[in-house]
Amino acid sequence: MSKTEPPTGDLDTVFRECAGDLQSYFSRRHGGPEGADDLVQESFLQLARKYAAGRGISSPRAYLFGIARHVSLAFLRRREAAPERLDGVRDEPASREQPDPRAVAAREIIAALPPLQREILDLRFAHDLSYEEIATALGIPVGTVRSRLHHAVAQVRERLAMEDRSVSERTALRFKTYSRDEN
């Protein structure tokens, strides 16, 4: 389930609860943690403006992720126009450990998905947003979030089943070869 929802309208609480999540969000999207501070600040500034305008926000966390997404896209557009890099940007994956082959197989499936579907997976599995929060952040219906996520997981599942079958076949073949050599 999603994390505890901060009380509506309390910017300090929202900041305390969500600043870390937002930092992680920008780090993942842009490949580095340090320079993400500015983008976190920018996102909260925009949220503060909404509060100042007296706009009621039912789900600040989801709304904040929606703002963060726009801030991130604007940053990427600027970077595309005039290449600039976040401080301490890292191009390689955060983890240097040898990942599990099943995680690698799942990665291949996810990498081939459309950007929106990957974004849904990221918000769900890396930032623990609920379906409803993802829908608010991305501005799409909850049903779309659900169906895209189901589709992605179903594809991963098929791939894993295929991997299992191929492992079983290889084992059986090895066993057969071994038995023949023994005889």
Partner: protein, 155 residues
Amino acid sequence: MKTESLQALLIDRQLGELPTETLELLEAWLAEHPESMHEALQAEEAVHWTRAAVRCFPELARPDREPGVLQFRSHWSRWMPLAIAASVAALVGGAAWFGYRSGEQSGLRQAHPALAPVARQQVGEAGPWARYAVVSGPGGGLTVVRRDTKSSPQL
């Protein structure tokens, strides 16, 4: 229950997105259908490895690049309108050239039609046109000649 519906419910259950009533109904259904436990385990595993992959490979979250897709794609999309315009221009030019050539050949055929064999109009001997005949002239072309049916020789 359809397999797709069951899988969707199992994923939602795994992610804690099922309302309590639906969750209870699903649990009861699974208890009555122990053969579906395999499906439940597979769904659980798929969710687990999807989560693991998303967390383990943060580059999947980057919107500025398409993991697994060749990097020249952005350049390709930039040149796409120009490529389409060039294709259309080539197509139109080719069609125009083909049309021009076809028309030219057709004009040649009309300017030099194959000479018709000597025609001889057979008309009724008793008709009002019996004394007239259409013959090809020495310089080409057709000429209408009048003949006397009794004195002049048969053409």
